[in-house]
Structures are given as C-alpha cells and as structure tokens.
C-alpha cells in the first residue's frame, strides 16, 4: 500500500523531475564544462579545452568589474528604497483613516500590470531633459532643470540609477500587496494592548508591526535581491549593450548577454553565468544566515 502510494507520488511529480533534470541540473553542470572551453558560436568546430582561462578572463575583464560595481550601486540605492516604499504604501493602505481603500489599492497596483518595456519607454520620455514633465516640474521651483546644463537623467551615471529606481518603483505592486496581507494578519489586540501601554505610532510600528512582518519583509528582500542581481530588461531597452552612461547600465546580465550571444563567445559566457550563479548563491546564503537574528517566526508555526 505504502509502496503503491510512493509510486503514484513519483508519477505525479515526474513532469517536474524530468524538467528539473533537462532544464536545470544538466544545463548547470554543462555550463561549468562549457566554461572550460573556447567555444565560439561562429565556429563551433574549432572548440578547444582551455582550462581556467575563461575564469581568469572573467575576473580580469574590466567590464566584469564595471558590471559588479553597477549592480552594487543600484542594489544599495534601490533595494532599501523599494522595501521602504512597499512597506509605506502598505501601511497607508492599511490605515484606518484611509477611505476608498480598494480604489487606492488599485491605483498603486496598476503600474505593476503595465508591460515592463512599455513602462520603460514611457519613463524614458517623462525623464526627457527638455520636454519631460519631471524636469519641467523641477523647473517650476526655479532650478534650471530643462536647460543645456539641466538635469540629464540618462547621461549621468548617478542620476541614471534614480531613473532606474523610478521605473523599478512602478513594479512595486506585488511587494506592496504581500506586505498589506501581512499587516492585515496582525491581530488588532496587540495594537490595543500596546496603545493601553502608552505606545505611540512609531513605537507600535517598531515593536509590533515590524517584528510580526519580518518574515514577509525577508521574503521581499530575498526576491528583490535575486531580481537585482539579474537586472536586465530596463538597462537593455534603454541602452542596449553600450553600458552608457559611464558603465552604469552594464549590469551583470547585460555583460553576460553581450559576451555569450552578441559576440557568440559561449565559453566565456558560461563562465560569467556561473559567476552570477555563485553570487546569487552567496547573497541568498548570507541573507538566510542572518535571518535568524531578525526574522521572527511565530512559535506556533511548524
């Protein structure tokens, strides 16, 4: 009976098992093998074994370091920003003082439904130095934003990170909704008890909301960091593989895509892909490692 059950279980999960082997396990292993080959897409017959030279090249390629720096800078700016904004919007939507909650939830979620490329193209125009509304609004305050020395969002390696962030905040809906659901799951008695103890808004946020929301913040943090390490669509649509301005749009995946599929250097591309894999594994490993110091799971949960 038990063996029968196990056999049915394997039968039901077999589509995933086969897919996991075909599209994950074997390709990951094969990538490692590829990273030791000089394999050019333009001339596959001339493939030779080159040992660790692709790896040495990956670590000495200035573009790799540009990509790491770009990813690092954007992570430092956008990851905290997105977490705070997603939490702030969720707190706003959960506020007992807010009327028309459903309507506002829809408004703040709606941009997440806009196809990313369309969103990027709209923001590209909104941030146009001369005619975009953002600079014209800034211009109203008396700052010369639209002139020749104005604010050029896409020509400055620091400003462009803000442009990326604006576009990124348009996709914040999912994180916001997950936070909101978490907030709604916090028992109101806890707030009432804290209020009786004389806790103000800030104190209640720090002592009740944040600890109870920490598993959800952790989830958003992990998903957000993994996504940033693989940031591609926005820089690609705006700048292609040019890396403009000053390397700020040469993210890891852009670098990888250019080497592997634009230049056809598959062996080197495989080494870069493995580098991304190692970085993601390290980063998530560190996050999971530190989580027990700040993520609170209720004791009753299994």
């Amino acid at each position: 009976m038990q063996r029968r059950e196990a056999r049915w279980g394997y039968a039901f999960i077999s589509p995933w098992l086969i897919g996991f082997l075909l599209f994950w396990a074997v390709p990951i292993g094969a990538s490692l093998v590829f990273s030791t080959l000089d394999f050019q897409l333009t001339d596959p017959d001339a493939t030779t074994f080159v040992g660790t030279s692709n790896w040495e090249r990956a670590l000495s390629d200035p573009d790799t370091w540009t990509a790491l720096a770009a990813t690092f800078r954007f992570t430092v700016l956008f990851l905290p920003l997105s977490l705070v904004v997603a939490l702030g919007l969720a707190l706003l939507l959960n506020s007992k003082h807010l009327k028309f909650t459903g309507f506002f939830r829809l408004l703040f979620y709606a941009p997440s439904m806009i196809p990313l490329v369309a969103g990027v193209l709209i923001w590209q125009q909104v941030l146009n130095p001369q005619t975009g509304w953002v600079n014209r609004l800034i211009g109203l305050t008396g700052i010369d934003a639209t002139g020749t020395d104005g604010i050029r969002w896409f020509d400055n390696p620091i400003l462009v990170l803000f442009a990326f962030s604006f576009i990124g905040l348009w996709g914040i809906g999912n994180a916001m909704m997950v936070n909101l659901a978490g907030l709604q799951g916090i028992p109101t008695e806890l707030y009432e008890a804290a209020e009786i103890d004389g806790a103000g808004w800030w104190r209640r946020l720090r002592s009740v909301t944040l600890p109870l929301l920490s598993p959800i913040m952790f989830y958003n943090l992990v998903i957000g960091s993994v996504a940033i390490l693989q940031y591609f669509v926005v820089p690609w649509v705006l700048f292609g593989a040019t890396g403009r301005p000053g390397g700020a749009s040469r993210f890891l995946l852009v670098h990888f895509y250019q080497q592997a599929f634009v230049f056809g250097d598959m062996g080197y591309g495989a080494a870069l892909a493995w580098l991304i894999f190692i970085l993601v594994a390290l980063f998530t490993g560190v996050l999971f490692g530190t989580s027990r110091y700040w993520v609170h799971y209720g004791t009753e949960r299994s």
Binding site: E5, R7, G9, Y10, F12, I13, P15, W16, L17, G19, F20, L22, F23, P27, I28, A30, F34, L41, L92, S95, H97, L98, F104, R105, L106, L107, Y109, A110, P111, M113, P115, V117, A118, G119, L121, I122, Q124, Q125, V126, T131, W133, M177, V178, A181, G182, I216, L229, Q230, F232, W236, L253, F256, Y257, A260, M266, G269, A273, I276, F277, T284
Partner: protein
C-alpha cells in the same frame, strides 16, 4: 456615540466634559481621515503622472513633442477650411475694441480679408492692418491619428497575436503540468519528498542565466532557435511558483472528499480530475492569470531565442525594436506603449479580485 453626547457635563472647570471630549476625538478622527485620504490621492497622482504625460504626449504632433516650451497638452495652431482651402486662424483686434478669432483667407500688406469660422455665412470681413503682427490662435488638437500610425508601424495586431498565442499556450501547459506536480507533493508520501520539494523551491532563486549557454547550444543544434519551441516546450514540465501556490491550495481541500471517491473505486488520476480540479477552480484561475501576465511581460528568453526572426517576436521585444528605430518620434513610441499596455491593464481590472487573492496566498504562506 449618542450616549455620550447626552451625558450631562460635570466638572466643567477642570476637565472637558465627556461629550466635548468625544466630540473632539471624533473631530480629530475626521481630520486624520481627510489628511490621509488627500495625501494618498496626491501620492497616487504623482505615481501615475507618467501615464498622464504619456497620454498627453502621444496625442501631440511632431513639432509639439520636441518643443521644450510647448504646452503640456496637445495644442496646435487652429486652422479653418474655407472654399476647399485651409487657412490659419488669428486673434484679430476689431475697431470696436473686441478681439475675434478669424481665419485669414486673403492676406494683404496693409489690409486683409478674414472670415469668421463660427459664422461663415456672414461673409468676408475686411481688416486694415498688418496681418503678420497678429497672434495665431491655438487650441486643443489631439492627434488621434498617432495611434493609428503607431498601430500600423509596429504591426500591432501581429505582435499582439503572437504574444497572445505565446501567453495562452504556455498558460495551459504550465497550469496543467503544475497542477499534476502540486497534487503529487500535496497528497502522496514518498521517500525524498521534503528534499525534492526544497529543490523545487530553490529553482525560484536560481538564476536562469546559468542554464542558458548549453540550452541555447542544444536548441540551436535542433534547429529550434528562431521558433517558439524553446519557449513553449519547457512549460510542459511545471514551474516552481505555480506548483507552490497550487500545492498550498490543495492542502486546504478536505481529505474526506478524496476518500469518498476512492471508496467508489476511483484511482488517483480520476480522483485528481473529478475531485481536486473542480474544487480548485479559484486557485487554477489565479495561477493562470499570473502566468498570463508573466508571459505577456517575458523579455529575455524571447529576445534570445527569436533574435533571428523579428516577424514573430512578442510585444515587449517588438516595442524595444521599434523604440530603437523611431527614437526621434517620441509621440509614436508613447502611442505604441499605450496600445501595448491597454490589453493587460484591461484584463487586470476585469479580474482584479481573483488576482489580488492570488498574490496574497503566494506571499503570506511563504
């Protein structure tokens, strides 16, 4: 509330009476509500401002887009058609001190002939003065034709057709396979189940890039690059997010239902089809919607695998090609972007209840 309002005021000198206190608290509550709601409205306006900009700019003509001093709305010089010819409209100061908007039909050096567009029957108006000193009249003049032009230039129907095909076919494949796998993880005990489920969850975090080089090489060998096969076939093998969500839902279905079916002689496949699937329509719908939007947005793999075949790319990739070629015509790019977002946003608005519930289930039970 009325109970405190009728209470007699006691001790009025020291503390505010209960009625006044309640009233004050209520008033503070109303103020907080107004401030919060107005603040949220302001925030939403700022957040959605680019959409307003996109709409206003998509309706401008080419000159209006590139002029930094142009009005934010799609305005342009008014014209009036008279006797088969198009004439510009000017603000003409009349001898009686008023100013009339008149169309210039016969310009002359020292005196010109105008006609009133609102009342052409009144006949031509002769005016003494230099018409070149007159201000042209501008008015709201949305160029709806931009949308038609963008529609044709990006071949909107072809892009949408391929995107719909891709989204719907992969939606069916992934939902069916994920439901089967999710049932396996939810209801059967077998050695290694915990480990395998952990492995499945880990694929959510694994960067797909690390699999791409060998996959691309193999698909190229098979002649699949340039077709949708590398994008569609992997969907036959379930997807971690969908399995997780569906398993979570299947676990909430009471086991008694399946036991009853089993006593009636139904095997696991029949039980799955007759009991589990009908019970799980909400979860299946949510997963289908999630995948639909995911596929609609999918960019990297279509860009990679369809690179040699621009005729069949989905809409995201098609838009990026278009913006590269037409970057001097932002009004067309914006019109195309608005066209591209209309369908997904409309579907979202129609199905938002299911959608929001789905997000909540995936996130919170993590």
């Amino acid at each position: 509330m009325t109970a405190t309002a009728t209470a007699p005021p006691l001790d009025a000198a020291d503390a505010p009476p209960p009625a006044e206190k309640a009233l004050r608290r209520r008033r503070r509550g109303i103020t907080a509500t107004i401030v919060t709601t107005l603040g949220a409205l302001l925030l939403a306006v700022v957040f959605l401002m680019p959409l307003g900009y996109g709409a206003a700019t998509a309706l401008k003509d080419k000159d209006g887009v590139s002029d930094p001093n142009a009005d934010i709305l799609p305005v342009s010089a008014l014209t009036y058609e008279y006797d088969g010819e198009v004439h510009d409209v000017y603000a003409v100061p009349m001898p009686d001190g008023t100013t009339r908007d008149l169309a210039l039909i016969e310009p002359g050096r020292e005196s010109s002939v105008f006609i009133d567009p609102d009342d052409p029957g009144a006949g031509p108006v002769e005016w003494d003065g230099r018409w070149r000193t007159l201000e042209p009249v501008t008015g709201l003049n949305p160029q709806w034709g931009n949308f038609a032009e963008a529609w044709n230039t990006i071949s909107f129907l072809r892009l949408t057709g391929w995107t719909l095909m891709y989204a719907l076919v992969t939606m069916v494949l992934t939902v069916v396979s994920s439901a089967v796998v999710a049932y396996g993880f939810a209801r059967f005990r077998f050695p290694g189940r915990g480990l395998l489920f952990g492995l499945l969850m880990a694929t959510i975090l694994l960067p797909p890039a690390v699999t791409l080089v060998p996959k691309y090489a193999v698909f190229l060998q098979m002649g699949w690059v340039g077709t949708y096969l590398p994008l569609i076939v992997p969907q036959l093998f379930a997807n971690a997010f969908n399995v997780f969500l569906l398993r979570q839902y299947f676990l909430t279905i009471p086991k008694e239902l399946e036991e009853a079916a089993r006593i009636d002689g139904a095997g696991p496949i029949r039980t799955f089809l007759r009991v589990i699937v009908p019970q799980s329509v909400p979860a299946l719908t949510a997963v289908s919607l999630f995948h639909f939007f995911y596929a609609w947005n999918d960019f990297f793999e279509p860009l990679l695998y369809l690179a040699g075949n621009r005729e069949i790319v989905p809409i995201g990739v098609g838009l990026s090609y278009f913006s590269g070629v037409y970057n001097s015509e932002p009004h067309l790019i914006l019109a195309a972007s608005l066209l591209a977002l209309a369908l997904p946003v409309a579907i979202f608005l129609a199905a938002q209840k299911v959608f929001v519930q789905g997000i909540v289930v995936t996130g919170v039970d993590k």
